[in-house]
């Protein structure tokens, strides 16, 4: 590991100011489960590490049946995984976070950290996008809100500028007709990166889809919405033929690469299978 300077700002204003001055060689540390590994293995050059754990009010966690879920940047993956509100209302997110790393990692890692790392294969991102999550960003002035699906610009890249700090994330409350699912495809059941991840959030009544959001992970430079597939499903009755059509459509929307984990063709195939299955699970089908 290369030497670095370490900072512990006491307020958001101080942190933002510091990050703006230090520029692109600075990195925020919260859980550190990605950052420290990357620094130790010198995959990333970080000269300044800014710890935000001394900043108050970043650990809030609230759920309201009308307003939905909101939690701060320091909330850990494990807190979200074990929250009855998440398990009851956001089963796709609950599933995804339970598959991130190990329990030890989840005890330290934060959801916002996983998001800001901007990995195309991040487990938390597809369900959050499918559920319409948005981020609160502090930049020294008034908080601005960024829809999560507009947040990413490429692998490891986001719309944030130096001085921007994501302070929290909020998700709308699910409606009474919501169905949700996340399926991760990996080479083993735990301690694994997603080869493909598919999250579905669907509004349905009596087999009829009124609205749907599908997010695909690890098959494009960022997690993507499968918008054409969503259009295909919206307003229609979900049956086996439509599911097959949706699977085919999602496969066309994915632009996967091939690497040592899986070939592009296999990833594309899995987008089809997993999209079909995830819609089925979200509609209440057997797993």
């Amino acid at each position: 590991m290369k030497p670095f300077e370490y900072y512990e700002p006491a307020s958001l204003a101080e942190a933002s100011d510091l990050l703006r001055r230090l520029g692109k060689d600075a990195s925020i540390i919260a859980g550190g489960t990605d950052l420290l590994v990357e620094m130790k293995e010198e995959l990333r050059s970080v000269l300044h590490v800014v710890n935000i754990k001394k900043i108050p009010n970043l650990r809030n966690f609230t759920y309201d049946p009308a307003a939905g879920l909101r939690f701060g940047a320091l909330v850990t993956v494990r807190e979200v995984e074990t929250s009855p509100h998440v398990i009851g209302n956001y089963p796709n997110l609950a599933k995804a976070v339970s598959l991130l790393g190990s329990v030890q990692v989840r005890n330290r890692a934060t959801i916002v950290g996983n998001i800001c790392r901007a990995s195309p294969s991040a487990d938390t991102i597809p369900p959050l996008i499918a559920d319409g999550a948005s981020l609160s960003v502090y930049d020294g002035g008034a908080d601005r809100t960024i829809l999560l699906e507009d947040f990413f610009t490429g692998p490891g890249r986001t719309v944030l500028s130096p001085g921007d700090i994501v302070t929290g994330i909020s998700l709308p409350a699910p409606g009474p007709t919501s169905g949700r699912a996340y399926i991760k495809h990996g080479r083993r059941k735990a301690m694994e990166l997603a080869t493909v991840g598919v999250a579905v959030s669907i509004e349905h009544v009596a087999g009829q889809c009124s609205d749907v959001r599908i997010a695909l992970g690890a098959v494009a430079p960022t997690v993507i919405r499968a918008r054409r597939t969503e259009d295909l499903l919206r307003g229609r009755r979900i049956d086996a033929a439509l599911l097959a059509e949706a699977a085919e459509s999602a496969m066309q929307e994915a632009t996967p690469i091939g690497n040592v984990r899986a070939s592009a063709a296999y990833r594309r195939d899995m987008v089809g299978v997993l999209t079909r299955r995830a819609i089925g699970y979200a509609m209440g089908g057997a797993r």
Partner: protein, 772 residues
């Protein structure tokens, strides 16, 4: 849920007090409290930290190395290149009594033969500075053509990777094994099958990375703490290559975090560490990163097996012909041993009188393949067992019945040339069938669902000890203490398998003292008797027998010593539960401590027993049942249940033996379904030298395992009949899974690992064929 308690005691000819009991392992407390000392824990005053510079080309001559910037970095104390180290050709597999070692390595050479080979080393005041200095070393390479596959390297006229006098990059002259008349056998056959099997490149991925610490004392003596399975081999090789007398090298290894065979080699690090320590006059430590354990480590031999067999309608094998070709990687390491053992294994397991086998091992510019649990037999029995499954179907036999009909049995000549003792393999197959209701399961309806289940059986046998390839010897000293406790001084290394617990049990049993009365001294070449190393499933078999002999020797002395005190003949005495007792015509007894302790102020005589055992060979057997579920839409294969039945002669510690079996199954599942260390065939670069992309199954991926251990064919040479168990489980599980996949989806694979993508593609091809 895994069960260990179902231990069969089919052959108990005597009652045991300690042997056969799962006593609390002697290393439990120190391991759970974190106080057990591993080589990496050694910290000495003034210690420097070393790092290796590794090549980023696969095959090249080194035109120049510029170390000036590295040396100029503050905190750097020494840099070594090939110009600064002794140039002594030595073997990577340093077994002095083996005829098959290949002297083809230098500490550092002016040429690199694989991507990641060490070309220089730095010692600095911290690991970070050493790493930075490594990055500052500039190496200019003159590229040589890269030969990354067996095919490329063994083409006529292929440029030699080593100048060993053999053509087409052979590591050793081809191995030929012939029995009977193969042509006559094929002429009699009703069915002839011919297949080629393709073998992946799994790595041992031991938990503890290679690490060593070197220190020279004022008298010019080197102490080397290192994570090795064969401390005495390291001592011998260091002395030879560094040019110092043997008694000026001391190798210490307390605990190890696994080795699986690979840590029999030296990994450049021991030499470089020792030389850096000598040059700087300070202790030097070098620890591999996880990436380095891949780059500079040892894998199982990848390769190809062409196998052809002739069968008769009544289910006999009348001819077997095979060409085994292993990819050795850039150096010979255990290539000769693996080629000999893996090829010769094809003479057996399933009986066949007419056998013609050819084994080859080829240098390529890829990572070094070495010794690894299963030692060539994983590969060849995978091919053999898969073909048996296929033949059974074509001939109309149940696969388990077919394997049973042809199972090697008492008196058959084993690969080593010895007659087989007992009917271990048949016993294992029969027990698997009973235990799993095999025939009932085979008759089960198979719905055409998305997820399909299948069952399979895989078989194996494996030798305890490396004879006849290596002439081995185990040694032990048992020292009687004045309070009636004993100290076992053994050369047997502890890889983490519980070997020292098993050896202590044997000593306790033989001496008639409680298990707790035995303590173990091990892991220091200056103290313990010579040992060849912990490998070849022989620690209990060989080291255990030596310990038993040493214990018997000290018991004889104790009884002679006690005879006058009990006014009896030594022949009428025994030691039971810490007492010396008269066994005939009296019930007189004295405490062992009275017999051997000080009397009337006079110190006691020191009683020491010595045991030396030179084994020949014995074979352990196993049959594994596996049930799998194949997802026909994703190609994923889940192993749902494994029932391993092992015949190991005598179980010393049931939980430890079951642990070996479960661990082997875990590794074997990985090898069969996911683990493959992948090389870019355009430049020889490693594509997945990390646990991010080299995936071993973890606890969540493990099926239920019902372990059954049989004691139906004890070996007369092993302690109380015990044979080895370390390597066996990893051999049988692969074919069990592959055969179960066939049962599930009707596709026969001829390679490993069988990845989801390949399963899916095979299913697509099958569907297309059906449609056409």
């Amino acid at each position: 849920m895994n069960t260990y308690e179902r231990i069969d005691r089919d052959l108990s000819d005597r009652d045991f007090t300690v042997v056969g009991k799962s006593v609390k392992r002697s290393d439990t407390l120190e391991k759970v409290t974190g106080t057990a000392r591993y080589a990496g824990d050694v910290a000495l005053p003034g210690m420097l930290h070393a790092k290796m510079k590794r090549s980023n080309v696969a095959h090249a001559r080194i035109r120049s190395i510029d170390t000036s910037k590295a040396l100029a970095l503050k905190g750097v104390k020494a840099v070594l290149t090939h110009q600064d180290v002794p140039r002594v050709l030595h073997a990577g597999s340093p077994h002095p009594r083996s005829a098959s070692v290949t002297r083809d390595q230098y500490i550092l050479d002016d040429r690199v033969r694989y991507w990641g080979e060490g070309v220089a080393a730095v010692a600095a005041v911290s690991e970070e500075i050493a790493e930075r200095a490594v990055a500052l070393i500039e190496v200019e390479y003159e590229p040589l053509p890269g030969l990354f596959t067996i095919e490329a390297a063994s083409e006529p006229g292929a440029p030699p990777i080593h100048e060993n006098g053999l053509d087409r990059n052979h590591v050793l002259p081809p191995v030929f094994v012939t029995r009977g008349d193969v042509d006559k056998g094929f002429a009699e056959a009703d069915l002839i099958l011919e297949r080629e099997y393709d073998l992946g490149r799994p790595t041992p991925a031991y938990m503890e990375p290679n690490v060593c610490v070197s220190q020279w004392d004022g008298n010019g003596k080197l102490t080397m703490w290192t994570s090795t399975q064969s401390a005495f081999m390291v001592r011998g090789t260091l002395a030879e290559v560094l040019g110092v007398p043997l008694n000026k090298v001391r190798v210490v290894v307390d605990h190890m975090g696994g080795g699986f065979g690979a840590k029999q080699d030296l990994f450049q690090n021991e030499f470089l560490c020792a030389l850096l320590a000598r040059q700087t006059g300070r202790p030097v430590r070098m620890e591999f990163s996880r990436k380095e354990t891949f780059l500079g480590g040892r894998s199982r031999h990848p390769g190809k097996i062409w196998l052809k067999q002739g069968f008769t309608k009544d289910g006999r094998i009348v001819a077997r012909e095979a060409r085994v070709t292993f990819n050795s990687g850039a150096y010979g390491s255990h290539g000769p041993g693996v080629t000999n053992v893996g090829t010769a294994a094809l003479t057996s397991l399933y009986r066949c009188e007419n056998v013609r086998l050819e084994g080859r091992c080829i240098y390529t510019n890829s990572p070094i393949a070495g010794a690894f649990r299963g030692y060539g037999v994983v590969q060849t029995y995978y091919a053999l067992d898969l073909m048996m499954d296929e033949a059974a179907e074509k001939l109309g036999f149940d696969p388990a019945e077919f394997k049973l009909m042809n199972a090697v049995r008492e008196g058959d000549i084993a690969p080593s040339g010895h007659p087989i003792v007992g009917h271990g393999l048949g016993d294992c197959i029969r027990r698997v069938m009973e235990e799993t209701n095999w025939h009932e399961l085979r008759r089960r309806e198979k719905p055409e669902s998305v997820k399909r289940r299948g069952i399979g059986i895989g078989c194996e046998m494996h030798g305890s000890s490396a004879y006849p390839g290596i002439k081995e010897q185990g040694n032990a000293i048992v020292k009687m203490n004045e309070d009636g406790t004993v100290t076992l001084i053994t050369g047997t290394a502890g890889l983490g398998t519980g070997a020292h617990t098993a050896l202590s049990q044997i000593v306790a049993e033989e001496l008639g003292v409680p298990f707790e009365a035995v303590s173990v001294v091990q892991g220091d070449t200056d103290i313990v008797p010579w040992d060849i190393g912990a490998f070849a499933s022989h620690t209990t078999y060989l080291g255990g027998r030596a310990a038993q002999l040493a214990a018997a020797d000290v018991r004889r002395q104790v009884l002679e010593h006690a005879a006058p005190l009990l006014q009896a003949e030594p022949a009428d005495l025994a030691i039971r539960d810490g007492f010396v007792v008269v066994t005939s015509g009296s019930n007189r007894s004295i405490r062992l401590s009275e017999a051997v302790g000080p009397k009337r102020g006079m110190p006691a005589m020191q009683l020491v027993g010595v045991g030396t055992y030179m084994p020949t060979k014995s074979y352990s057997f196993a049959a594994h049942f596996a049930e799998v579920e194949v997802d026909t839409e994703t190609g994923e294969v889940a192993v749902l249940e494994v029932v391993p039945v092992h015949e190991i002669g005598r179980v010393i510690h049931p939980i430890a033996a079951a642990g070996q079996i479960e661990g082997g199954i875990q590794q074997g599942i990985g090898h069969t379904l996911s683990e493959d260390y992948v090389i870019d065939l355009t430049d020889g670069r490693s594509l997945n030298p990390s646990f991010v992309d080299y995936k071993m199954p973890l606890s969540m991926d493990m099926p239920s395992i019902r372990t059954i251990i049989l004691e139906t064919a004890p070996d007369p040479g092993g302690p109380y009949g015990a044979k080895g168990v370390g390597e066996d489980p990893i051999i049988a599980i692969g074919p069990a899974i592959a055969n179960a996949i066939y049962d599930a989806i009707g596709v026969r694979f001829h390679h490993y690992p069988i990845t989801p993508e390949q399963v899916l593609n095979a299913l697509k091809s099958k569907a297309n064929e059906t449609r056409q």
